[in-house]
């Protein structure tokens, strides 16, 4: 007998919570971004678990779409990060020299 679905659901909830917390507290865009991925993973886990308990394949099918969305988001998001970084390459050089001094 498999472990109860609730265990996995709680696990997913905790993962979601950690992701949300990280998103709201960290300041680095890239890490915030990863936190979104954590949250989406929690969602996937939830879907799969419900799919098991409901004996319904739809839950697993949805996970696909979530993954596609995650991939699309990452693409655009990293594009934005690159664009932001491009805007201020000079400042980072300043920062570098400060670090040296």
């Amino acid at each position: 007998m498999n472990v109860p679905a609730a265990w996995y659901l709680v696990l997913a909830a905790i993962l979601f919570g950690i992701g949300a917390f990280g998103l709201l507290t960290r300041r680095s865009a890239l890490i915030m971004f990863m936190c979104i991925e954590l949250m989406l993973n929690a969602v996937n886990l939830t879907f799969v678990t419900f799919s098991r308990t409901l004996s319904d394949i739809d839950g697993q099918a949805i996970v696909f779409f979530v993954m596609v969305v995650a991939a699309a988001e990452v693409t655009v998001g990293l594009g934005i990060v690159v664009a932001v970084f491009r805007r201020r390459p000079s400042s980072s050089v300043d920062e570098l020299s400060e670090l040296k001094g």
Binding site: A20, F33, G59, I62, F65, A72, E73, I80, V84
Partner: protein
């Protein structure tokens, strides 16, 4: 095992197809033609697409009139008057934005063709949301809409704030999406389906002994939507993003996102979770109060026109939520009426802001508006009318929009809520009026004249004309909105 491909009612998805198809066409065209696709071509494509979509909407309307509301493609898409009207509103907003963006792109020397591609695709997402009958389709529509907007927000490369705003918008938008889909997951767990009709059927035919999961899921869905429409306390991104985004994009965002998100919200809350009305109403009550009051109050302290309109848009979101709170046919119609009238006004308002913003899109302090109506009575007067419409002054559509939602709320027994919302409108009046007063200030009559390109001028004129015409004679729109909500019987 044979695969039964669901039947597809092409008329129902034709607007979506047209929008995406045109985006693809433009994209392929840019790639395949040796000479650059001129912005004029792109703009006319968008205009043609919007008009075509409107025509299709007309046929859809007739189809619904004849055959009634229907779902198609395995019940993922619904064709009813509500979606038809909502898509028409989106088409109009896109049309207006395209014309404003045309002049803007020429002025700012950014690549307008790409702008149109993204705008078309993005509004395709909004169209999906208006038609979606499945949480997953809503989610995808939301994502298409948002991804397009992230790019559009970052579109102005000459300003650092543009891409930084995009980053902020993106991170919080992603957060919202995650919350939304988590809510969808919980609802799926509680009801066994993501299809709105199935959920509604399940909830109608079963009594949940422990509805906690459903409530949690519903609440998360609501939070997701609240983020998207910038309802307080999930609004924190909106002023920064509104300010940072290129001004035509801000107008587009304020209009199209609201239409899409509210259409989907209404579907989720009313046609799907309508049986749980008593549960979500109190939450919405708090949300509405916070949104209207905080939105209006914070707008007062702003000195930047775009930020002001951002908070004003938060305030408006609160008013639209009022119609949802009512949870009745009247409320739904009022919500629809509100977005119908709000969209042209807000796009036109931001069109004026685009013009005043000047080359570089930076002149957004309220100071730049001093004496504008003196120097350019038509432009200033137009802005004044648009502001009055947002304020809710009679003889503009804004009044009837507010009237409709308030009426629905009072009808549903929310007199106190309506009163709070109206008081917030009085607070909001302060900054609209202060702005209007600045327009007519006579101490700075010798300022710089604002160039008014023809297309943008036409858009502003259209916005003003709509708001006054239907402000005097709201009958047709009101009837349209009322007819459009036949499906929504809670």
């Amino acid at each position: 095992m044979t695969l039964q491909i669901p039947s597809i009612h092409y008329l129902a998805i034709l607007p979506v197809l047209i929008f995406f198809g045109a985006a693809l066409l433009l994209m392929v065209g840019t790639a395949l033609l040796r000479s650059k696709v001129s912005i004029a071509v792109a703009t006319s494509t968008t205009v043609a697409v919007s008009l075509a979509s409107l025509v299709v909407n007309f046929f859809q309307w007739r189809c619904v009139a004849k055959a009634g509301a229907s779902t198609t493609i395995a019940h993922a898409i619904v064709l009813d008057d509500f979606s038809v009207i909502a898509s028409a509103v989106i088409a109009v907003a896109v049309l207006m934005t395209a014309l404003v963006a045309h002049d803007w792109a020429i002025r700012e020397r950014v690549s307008g063709v790409e702008f149109h591609i993204m705008a078309l695709a993005s509004s395709g997402g909004a169209l999906l949301m208006t038609q979606a009958n499945d949480l997953i389709v809503i989610f995808l529509g939301l994502e298409i809409l948002s991804l397009g907007l992230y790019v559009l927000v970052a579109f102005d490369r000459h300003r650092a704030t543009s891409s930084e705003a995009a980053l902020k918008y993106f991170l919080l938008g992603g957060f919202a999406s995650a919350i939304f889909i988590y809510g969808a997951a919980l609802v799926y767990g509680a009801t066994g389906s993501t299809n709105l009709t199935s959920i509604s059927y399940f909830l109608g035919s079963n009594v949940l002994l422990r509805p906690g999961l459903l409530y949690a899921g519903g609440a998360l869905l609501l939070v997701g939507f609240a983020f998207k429409v910038a309802a307080v306390p999930f609004h924190l991104w909106s002023p920064d993003v509104y300010e940072g985004a290129p001004t035509p994009v801000t107008g587009f965002m304020a209009a199209v996102v609201k239409v899409g998100a509210f259409a989907a919200l209404v579907r989720v809350l009313i046609s799907s979770l309508g049986t749980q009305l008593d549960t979500w109403r109190p939450i919405l009550w708090v949300l509405v109060v916070l949104t209207t009051v905080v939105g209006a109050s914070l707008a007062i302290v702003q000195r930047n026109a775009k930020r002001m309109l951002a908070y004003s848009s938060i305030n408006h979101a609160g008013f639209i939520l009022l119609g949802v709170w009512a949870g009745t046919i009247r409320g739904t119609a009022a919500t629809l009426f509100y977005v119908m009238t709000y969209a042209p006004v807000v796009v036109a308002s931001f069109a004026v802001l685009t013009l005043v913003g000047g080359v570089g899109d930076e002149h957004h302090s309220i100071e730049y508006y001093r004496g504008l109506a003196r120097r350019q009575p038509w432009l200033g007067g137009a802005l004044c009318v648009l502001l009055l419409s947002q304020l809710g002054a009679p003889l503009t559509t804004g009044f009837y929009a507010k009237f409709a939602v308030l009426a629905s709320v009072v009808d549903a027994g929310g007199g106190a809520l309506a009163l709070i919302a109206l008081v917030s409108a009085a607070i909001a009046a302060y900054f609209y009026l202060r702005w209007a007063m600045a327009l007519y200030a006579d101490d700075d009559v010798e300022g710089v004249r604002v160039e008014v390109p023809r297309l943008t001028g036409a858009v502003i004129g259209f916005g003003v004309a709509v708001t006054i015409l239907f402000g005097v004679w709201p009958g047709p729109l009101a009837t349209l909105a009322q007819h459009a909500t036949v499906l929504f019987t809670p």
